[in-house]
């Protein structure tokens, strides 16, 4: 099955590959998927004091569509507030990358990764407030 041009572009030139310091207070890390299932995504966000996402990084083990979905997710969350980032839906990713039905799970995983990274930063903030 041929890949869409956008998937190929993200695969060849992935945006925001790398890692942020997962122990930093203003960094949220989401790791979703499992090697046995053929997909693992790690997505990290760095937020400022106003909960705006100022940086995002990813690494992905998975097919080209999984790599493209997570690359696109980092692009989209950058500059958004946490609340805005939570409105990103997997269907938006499917549409943007023209993913075929067998690859929809890649977009679901990318949405899960955004949510997991946000949950991590919120946990850190709540923990800091409570302590």
């Amino acid at each position: 099955m041929p890949y869409s041009d956008k998937v190929v572009d993200h695969y060849r030139n992935p945006r925001n590959v790398g890692a942020l310091d997962k122990n930093a207070k203003n960094v949220g890390t989401g790791v979703v998927g499992a090697p046995e299932c053929g997909d693992v995504m790690k997505l990290q966000i760095q937020v400022d004091e106003n909960d705006r996402i100022v940086d995002a990084k990813f690494k992905t083990f998975g097919c080209g569509s999984a790599i493209a979905s997570s690359s696109l997710a980092t692009e989209w969350v950058k500059g958004k507030t946490i609340d805005e980032a939570l409105t990103i839906k997997n269907t938006d990713i499917v549409e943007e990358l023209a993913l075929p039905p067998v690859k929809i799970h890649c977009s679901v995983l990318a949405e899960d990764a955004i949510r997991a990274a946000i949950a991590d930063i919120q946990k850190k903030k709540n923990g800091a407030a409570g302590g």
Partner: protein
Amino acid sequence: MNKPIYMDYNATTPVDPRVLEAMLPYFRGQFGNAASKSHAFGWTAEKAVDKGREQLATVIGCDPSEILWTSGATEGNNIAIIGAARMYGEKNKHIITCKTEHKAVVDPCKYLETQGFEVTWLDPDMTGRVSADQVREALRDDTMLVSIMYANNEIGTVHPIEEIGAACKERSVLFHTDATQAFGKLPIDVDAMNISVLTMSAHKVYGPKGVGGLFVRKRNPRVRLQPVVYGGGQERGMRSGTLNVPGIVGCGMAAELAFSEMKQEGERLTGMRDRLWAGLNDRLPEITLNGHPTHRLPNTLNVSFKYIEGESLMMGISDIAVSSGSACTSASLEPSYVLRAMGVGDDIAHSSIRISLGRFNTDEEITFAIDALVEAVNKLRELSPLYEMAQEGIDISKVQWKA
């Protein structure tokens, strides 16, 4: 060097120009139906079909009358297994096969399980091999058929066919082998190997698609198979349907060429394949060879590249045509059932690709493939969270994944 480079010869092969030349007249002037007994058109077609039968019989050591023409290996395997079950399955309802067989053997066996047959699915060892002793231990008084492939399509592992044949002969049990991948690459002698029924397909050996041969033993002892398709009673009543004359001419020619060049070509392919593996293994850590180190088809290399996923790797080497898992199931997301049966973990199975070389590959292409694979693997490992974790000293097998 032309691109893309084809390295997926276990999926299919191009028709050899010599084969195509032999076939062409039978599409045009000599288009007759081999079953037409009343005129020259039919006689010419019949003569061509008989020549193909002789060519195929010669290379596997049988009588031409023991060859049936089919549409390919899937049909051949279905006739062999279901045809035998319908003929001999009244009393004897036990079948022995292996978990790594092609779907064209697995699925007929699964179908027979729904029809009151009991199937013993042998577990291969970690190289993908079953032993004659495993077969011997599984044999019962009511065993109707043993079906073990000569060589596996995904990993290239070659089973000890002669020993398995001997084990079947000891108990006078029918022995079918799907020789689709081994045909033309390894010697075949149906008598020495005690094979009762053998499947081959033309398109894996530089013949056309849509035609294959089925050897059905006529003596010591005679094997009879009930038909799966009913009709005009062609092919001794076991396979009705108008014969594919150009296809049969091509199949016979392809078989003759493959066997006449087998030794030389086998050495050439083994050399290229081993250079490919050595080139990868020298430059990339944590890669594993799937399949048997020596009992393996000369052209097949199945490799797992730890921390990266096979499909993304194929995308990274888009100038080279290879496959991940078997070509027939690559559309599904399940990792290869063959690797799983060998005890390869699902994570490693997801990281595997199959490279299968053939007649038109060159040394230059092997060098190109090594460079392309090394570059793509390194790039994808930089992108892999699993590689990052491994670098940090985390044992990935002990991580609790939130799938």
